[in-house]
Symmetry: C2
Subunit: 381 residues, 2 copies
Amino acid sequence: VAALPFGHALWAATEASAQGAAGAAGPTTLPSGLIVRESNPVNLEFPFSRLEGFITPTSQFYVRSHFATPKLDRAAWRLRVEGAVERPLELSYEELLRMQSETRPVTLECAGNGRSFLNPPVRGVQWAEGAVSNAEWTGVPLAAVLRRAKVKRGAVEVVLEGADTTELKSVPRPAGPIHFARSLPLAKALDPSVLLAHQMNGAELPVDHGFPVRGVVPGWYGVSSIKWLTRIVVTEQPFNGHFQTVDYAYYERRNGLPSRVPLTTMQVKSEIARPAAGESVPAGAPYRVFGAAWTGDDADIRKVEVSTDGGRSWSEGKLLGKSARGAWRLWEYDWRTPSAGKQTLLARATDSRGRTQPMERDPDRDNYMITHVLPVQVTVR
Amino acid sequence: VAALPFGHALWAATEASAQGAAGAAGPTTLPSGLIVRESNPVNLEFPFSRLEGFITPTSQFYVRSHFATPKLDRAAWRLRVEGAVERPLELSYEELLRMQSETRPVTLECAGNGRSFLNPPVRGVQWAEGAVSNAEWTGVPLAAVLRRAKVKRGAVEVVLEGADTTELKSVPRPAGPIHFARSLPLAKALDPSVLLAHQMNGAELPVDHGFPVRGVVPGWYGVSSIKWLTRIVVTEQPFNGHFQTVDYAYYERRNGLPSRVPLTTMQVKSEIARPAAGESVPAGAPYRVFGAAWTGDDADIRKVEVSTDGGRSWSEGKLLGKSARGAWRLWEYDWRTPSAGKQTLLARATDSRGRTQPMERDPDRDNYMITHVLPVQVTVR
């Protein structure tokens, strides 16, 4: 494949990652298939080449933890709602569950998903393509809780804070231990799709996924879907928390000046589940290329295209099922494999706002938002 | 001295810093008395114990540089004014000098001034108490240039950008080389006191102080007074430049949540120039304690108090000269020295907004805004 764009030089790494689970020096896998990227804190990757249905089984849903996993007691758990509200609240688990719940499929993707494919390497958990999963979440709309607390006029943001806490070691950092926390603009917090989820795929939240309650923010990178939620703070000033300024942010150029902005909405992206990188496929035969595609809020996936000639020409694949905003869309492409040799597949998605995955990596994104088209190399034999 | 507050444990360091210039292992000094903290980039400290008059001689004015010093050619220099303006400008040095200039005394303090006294040590240039100086600056009000360019409705900030440039090594960082730059809210940029200075103490700007033109922002930490100014960008969104988000920022607690905010206005502060730390003074005699005090914009120094008993009691000193907003105020205190022994002097300033220097260090300020009361220990003999 000639002239693959910036960020593609680590093809060898792609292959190594995909095969790592089997190799002697590769990462270990759990019986469920989850790939252990880090065990302390717990960071587990969905084996994306095993993608089957629209819903990721809970046992295979990727796990992203920043600090030690808090083990919260259901009876003692309280959700405090405070700050710029007329009626500060403290809700027990039972009180929350007595409120009206909704169920919706939501895809969460870690903002660092695909990081291991970058060249030069970047800091952070070295995810391959499986720091993304899709589950059915059941929870109380955040908007309903905010209505109960009566948000004051002049409020601008809503901070979700988890029980997970640590003293950071990197610099700059706040003094002393802090909790993981992130804010949403008030309008997003009031969007009826944002849930305080207490169930995942029809069962109680597992501890690794935020038991007893996790914020679930459709269309935004997973970092905003705060696990082990214990506090909601409505603010009258923008919240510049550590995890949206120093970390989980990137530089955007405006007037030629790099300006640091928080990571928020997921960017349009597709991934190929099968063939997996390094797979052998039969020559001169039909092969069903299969994957998923997703995008940010207020948009749907409109098209996924596949290229087998390094991006010179593209053929449209077929979108499967129906569009559910905030959830990924599965897709397939019927490939007639050529004669024996190395082949490289590319996939790119386009959404309802006309945004298409870029071919080149924007280096100002540093170690986040890896959405440029990545090659999957296979052997036809 | 019993129970000196947080940040005071490094008293030994205070003494070492003050005496360093003379000691074998201490920093070198230039013939002017400037203390060399770093030579590449050039970071030179005013020998604060040699404070004499209201105006710091240019040869003794502290120098803070982040990257290599740009040597700009007067004839080739241009100041571009662009972004959200009706009439983008490109001014030559002669064109700028043909505009009406004003002269005003302005004190600049590095946000890291006093850093070497912190315990535990923090990163950054290890300034003692002399990263502060006061000069008469002559320049064209920034507001006049902005009027010529006609700021568009909807503009919110004004970015000043220097010619100094480098590729950062710390993380996170933007990709590729960037220029040193910082923004002012539009209201501050339109304040008539903000100058595009082309003279310092009645002569052309020396290269280390930003030749040919430096922004001078009274009442704000020196970091905003951009040297080697070549571009002004008016923005319609807040500018989150590297040097006001990742660097030159600190954490402020709101609702118990640390929120990162840029360093802007100088905090109320006094420093003792004489006696110097470690100095010997005669017992049972009158001694003129002498120093300077300053504060942020829209405020004046109202009072400087001195304590010789570790902060249990305070006596008011005398403010010298007249108040000039944006410039420091010299002060003195007639001390009747006691009998022989170690003595510790403390000074604290209060400004017209009723703000007094704190006795304790706020650790969320990390390596910046060192304004808590620092002890000066002397030997009475």
